[in-house]
């Protein structure tokens, strides 16, 4: 009977109820939809960052992180890998690479970039280069002179597949060495800067060119469940604590990204706050109006012997029902609109190419995280009820004598 009474009271003034509900719907909708858009952006940045040869966890020879020269290298990568293999979660992947600064040049141009020696098979699922090339072919195990470069570099160098590219770097004796490679394939990355930054050759040919035997510069580990990176990196660090190897996570390798993620999180909280404050004013005002309109009734109920707590509760039940209905509708709208957007993604490329600068793709796919949905709903329901206590307390304090005077 209580719920029935509350339900009927809610529809006594449908316009008012609808106004509160619209406030709640817009609140929940924008909270969930905008958060998922931001999550999409942040995750995209994270995926880009991790797949751009970073990985969740990266192992370096001590010193390499501060001075990325070939002098610091892991000479026996296989023994390191076999040591840490057991601590890695089941479906993790890793790739060992040679990585040096180099100068690439052809007849017309020259540019500083990063020469990466890879095992193409290992890169699958670890970095973007594992996805292969869009043009030509991928380097293979025994391609000694083959090189794969990015589309943007190809254009900048005004060259094409089949042409030569000279790479110059320092070898382990600090002598300048250079080698001519033949361009066999072209890769694409989400960011043009990545396409200009990296060129890929077979790991063995890089090792030979630099005179480093079996040595490599880094081992990159990708964990299927990104959430486990911290725990896993601690496990690895524990195993390798006596060796001359540094263990890093993407968090310290990509400090900008970490900072952006924190800013985004702060922004989400701020957004919740703004939406909520606007909504709270709507709720309090309309509920107060409703309470004052029904002053005589609350006075009557008090006279009949209804205790203030019960009156307070009945008002809270009413606003609770409105809040729940609004939240349900808001969630449905949010899921619907996010799903619609996620099907095609939002193309931001028209807005600016500046997004690339922060490592963002131009097409954003929003992602719904249940945690965020839960938070948005809790914020609306709990805080919504909390602000409704103000009109509810007002209602519970109305005395019969006052109510009768107020005709």
């Amino acid at each position: 009977m209580e719920l029935q009474l509350a339900w009927r009271n809610i529809w006594r003034n449908p316009r008012r109820t609808v106004i509160i509900m619209i406030a709640v719907i817009i609140g929940v909708w924008t909270m969930v939809a905008l958060t998922s858009l931001m999550r999409g952006i942040v995750n995209d940045m994270l995926e880009n960052g991790i797949s751009t040869l970073t990985g969740d966890i990266k192992l370096y020879a001590s010193g390499y992180h501060n001075d990325p020269s070939i002098e610091y290298r892991i000479d026996d990568p296989n023994s390191v890998i076999s040591k840490i293999a057991k601590t890695l979660p089941v479906d993790s992947k890793y790739a060992a690479r040679v990585r040096v600064n180099a100068i690439a040049s052809n007849a017309r141009h020259s540019i500083g970039l990063t020469l990466v020696g890879i095992d193409p098979d290992q890169e699958k699922g670890v970095s973007f280069i594992g996805n292969g090339v869009v043009d030509g072919r991928m380097i293979s195990e025994d391609d000694n002179n083959a090189i794969v470069i990015g589309q943007a570099l190809l254009e900048k160098f005004e060259t094409r597949i089949g042409r030569k590219l000279i790479l110059m770097s320092q070898n382990s004796q600090n002598e300048i060495v250079s080698k001519a490679f033949k361009i066999v394939g072209v890769f694409r990355a989400k960011l043009a800067s990545t396409e200009k930054q990296f060129v890929f050759v077979n790991k063995h040919s890089a090792q030979k060119m630099l005179g480093i035997g079996n040595g490599i510069s880094e081992i990159s580990v990708v964990i299927n469940d990104h959430g486990k990176f911290e725990q896993t990196s601690q496990g690895i660090a524990e195993i390798l604590k006596d060796s001359d190897i540094e263990v890093h996570t993407w968090k310290d390798l990509l400090p900008m990204l970490t900072a952006y993620m924190e800013i985004f999180n702060g922004f989400i909280v701020l957004w919740y706050l703004v939406v909520f404050v606007a909504m709270a004013f709507g709720i309090v005002n309309t509920m107060l109006m409703a309470v004052f309109e029904r002053m005589r009734e609350f006075g009557l109920l008090k006279a009949l012997g209804m205790k203030p707590m019960l009156i307070l509760r009945s008002v809270l039940i009413e606003s609770g029902i409105i809040l729940i209905m609004g939240a349900i509708a808001g969630n449905l709208l949010a899921f619907g609109s996010v799903m619609m957007i996620a099907a095609t993604g939002i193309d931001l490329s028209a807005l600016s190419s500046g997004f690339e600068y922060v490592g963002m793709s131009s097409v954003i796919y929003p992602e719904i995280f249940l945690k965020d949905v839960f938070l948005a709903n809790v914020v609306v329901l709990i805080l919504g009820l909390a602000v409704s206590t103000y009109p509810a307390v007002k209602a519970s304090r109305i005395t019969p004598v006052e109510a009768m005077a107020h005709t």
Binding site: R8, E297, L300, K307, L310
Partner: protein, 227 residues
Amino acid sequence: MPIVDVKGVEKVYQQGDIEVHALKDIYLSIAPGSFAAIAGPSGSGKTTLLNIIGGLDLPDHGEVVVDSRHFRKMNQSQLAELRLNRIGFVFQAYNLIPVLSAVENVEYVMLLQGVEKADRRKRAMAILDEVGLSEKYHNRPSELSGGQQQRVAVARAIVSNPAIVLADEPTANLDSKTGEALLQIMAEMNENRNVTFIFSTHDQMVMDYAHRLVLLRDGMIDDDQVK
């Protein structure tokens, strides 16, 4: 022992800068089973006195005892409890919850009292039958005439098995025929159930029904006759 005992009650209202002495040193004892009317001109303090007897308003001085309970020793919550279980109210107007039907309005007090659901419905219907509203169980107040609404209010006041029913000008908004019918119902309830009724009125016809007539003037008892 009286069911209502008012001893030396004073009530002063502040109206801006002016103090209005709504009740001045009122002594009034009412025996159980009475059918008593409080009459007097407008502003003489009838509503104030009924509100104080009902525990809706507190006196500035003096003592009120209803059903052996001393109001001065009770807090708001205990007063609410007393009203719920021992006092029924019928007001001049706006007696009913507009979104509840007649039978639901009567049930609602029993819900507050904690009466079982099935029992509630049965008792509510029985009492509506008694006041002659068997046809109107499921009508909302807006679908009832003024006299029918007041009868629902009387039914609701009586259904909680109170010791007293306080009715502030229950017939003031009714024509004399409808008013008399309502009064007859109240008189029957008073006789059959031995419930004490105290009502205020302007109306000579209503005063004629009363077994006891208390006349107020300027917040004082001017006359008190038992018929």
